[in-house]
Amino acid sequence: MHMADALMSPAVGGTMWAATAGLTAYSAKKLRKDLDEHKVPLMGVLGAFIFAAQMINFTIPATGSSGHLAGGMILAILLGPSAAFITMASVLTIQALFFADGGLLALGCNIINMGFFPCFIAYPLVYQKIVGARPTRGRILLGALAASILALQLGALGVVLETFFSGVAALPFATFLLLMLPIHLAIGIVEGLVTAAVVSFVWQAHPEILALAPAAPAARGHSHKPLWLGLALFAVVTGGILSWFASSHPDGLEWSVKGVTGQEELAAPREGVHGALARIQDKLSFLPDYDFKKPAAEKQAEKPESWPEISTGKSLAGILGAALTLLLTGVIGLGLRRYCSPGKG
């Protein structure tokens, strides 16, 4: 469920980056204040553990497909929320840089989806409430299962919202949601079972490990500050984007409501977002009418004679020009390579 840069708009990417930066700074400050210096190497090595564990696949019974661990929940159980958040953020950064999972602009979204939801929402509000101070096998199973499902559902919802607000993919909100939530329900159940099994295995082998990490913050009464901070950021971000949509085109909000209730046909509501995007794009683009030709009927009715002339002439020019640009790029690349290669040897 890594978001990709290609599906993002800069506004969504930037706001999620800002939210992530705020949460990371908050968590780093909290860690420094706690002065838990044994956590410094522990976090690093556990992050690497998540990587290593993700490389071991297991076969999911009765399906034939294979799954692996996502890890946010295990980290939260072993490290507590803020340390787990930073660890998860670092894991996702490495994945973005080395495996091109997601991308640099989408990194903010991915950290919120897979770091914030398990660490700051599912762990303190579900897992800790269920497991409490004295874990038993059943409680660990129940807690991990419920928390993982919640975290993955929220994460999937995040992906859908971010994609929807970016407006690059044409998938309607409701369809995308119906696609993502059931898949991630299944993934969440598997993740919960794995998390519960691994945690109870460790708990049986070395009960003191589990007692150490999460009990310390729990004993002092867990602070809900990061949660409120995160929710406030989320609200500001959503509000900002919504108002941005709403101000440029009043149908943006209406569209999402209709999309959720599913009362309108697909073709009509999409125009809301398209229209909004087109309007923004018109303001930004150098050649306003070039790349976005509204296929709507009323436009055709307005000036039908201009249709064929615009489309053939401009498309041909665009395609030829693009081909020429590609050619030029290739020539420059080859030239640079030839020019630079004697220098390095």
């Binding site: 990417g13 420094r32 976090m43 992050g47 553990f49 990587f51 973005a96 991308g103 150098f286 290739g330």
Partner: protein, 270 residues
């Protein structure tokens, strides 16, 4: 099994690429990091039906691959490996957006296919920029740049730590898997139970290792903070690199080069 080894090799190979000595590798990591960000934002800021405007941006990865002596085939394979998510979300565009947008003689191209192509071009551009950043800079230098640019030290230290131990722990996981597959036939039957035991075992070893590392750090005077003391100097060529590319991106963002070229070619079409 093979996948563990190959992905480990992959990380190692990207790191090896970053040890080269080319004009690109010698640049300050901050300049490269910031330029990559400007590039990605410029690419992503285009409208959803934009294709021609995106194509000139190919010059950035192409030029960097050429100057930095990076292997294009390897980078292309890595980009393909990461493609599925963008592909599967994007492929819905042609299904849902059927209105004809581009007319080429008798053939009409729907808006969905245009925006799908646009998504895949964006994907290629943004992913290649990120991979080139790592292959030309190396993670340690990127971390230093992050720290200098104001990222929280705790996060940067965590990244450095994580990166250092990825190799150690994937080796450990590899040994576990090898031992198991030697004792089973064709590596079959890695069911849920065995899997959790393996992961649990790996976790216990990880925790023990963390404790040893902590003791080793304590005995060398670790007091809870890690100091990153490595000089980074921002020279004239770094500024030129950053400002030059950024202004080119801005120019290409506002000025549709292929369109102009096409007009020249087709003889002053409207």
């Amino acid at each position: 099994m093979a996948t563990i080894e190959s992905s480990l090799l992959n990380i190692g190979y990207l790191e090896t690429l970053s040890y080269q000595q080319t004009p690109l590798h010698r640049l300050d990591p901050r300049a490269k990091l910031l330029t990559t960000l400007v590039f990605i934002i410029a690419v992503v800021s285009f409208g959803k039906y934009e294709i021609t405007g995106l194509i000139p941006f190919m010059i950035y990865p192409v030029a960097l691959i050429a100057v930095g002596n990076l292997p294009p085939g390897y980078l292309a394979r890595k980009i393909l490996l990461a493609a599925p998510f963008a592909f599967f979300i994007g492929i819905f565009n042609p299904l849902l957006d059927r209105a004809v947008l581009v007319q080429l003689g008798p053939v009409g191209l729907s808006g969905g296919w245009v925006s799908f192509a646009s998504i895949m071009i964006r994907f290629t551009l943004t992913v290649s920029a990120a991979l080139i950043l790592i292959a030309s800079t190396g993670l340690n230098a990127v971390c230093l740049a992050l720290e200098r640019l104001g990222a929280p030290t705790g996060f940067v230290v965590q990244l450095l730590f994580l990166y250092r131990y990825i190799f150690v722990l994937t080796d450990e996981a590899l040994r576990l898997m090898r031992a198991r597959s030697l004792r089973s036939f064709q590596g079959r039957g890695l069911g849920f139970k065995v899997f959790t035991y393996l992961i649990g075992q790996l976790l216990l070893r990880t925790l023990a290792r963390a404790q040893r590392i902590h003791l080793a750090m304590r005995s060398r005077g670790f007091d809870g903070t890690i100091r990153l003391l490595r000089p980074l100097e921002f020279h004239l060529q770094d500024a030129v690199f950053f400002l030059g590319w950024s202004s080119l991106f801005l120019l290409l963002r506002w000025y549709n080069l292929p369109h102009q070229l096409g007009h020249l070619l087709t003889g002053l079409a409207p």
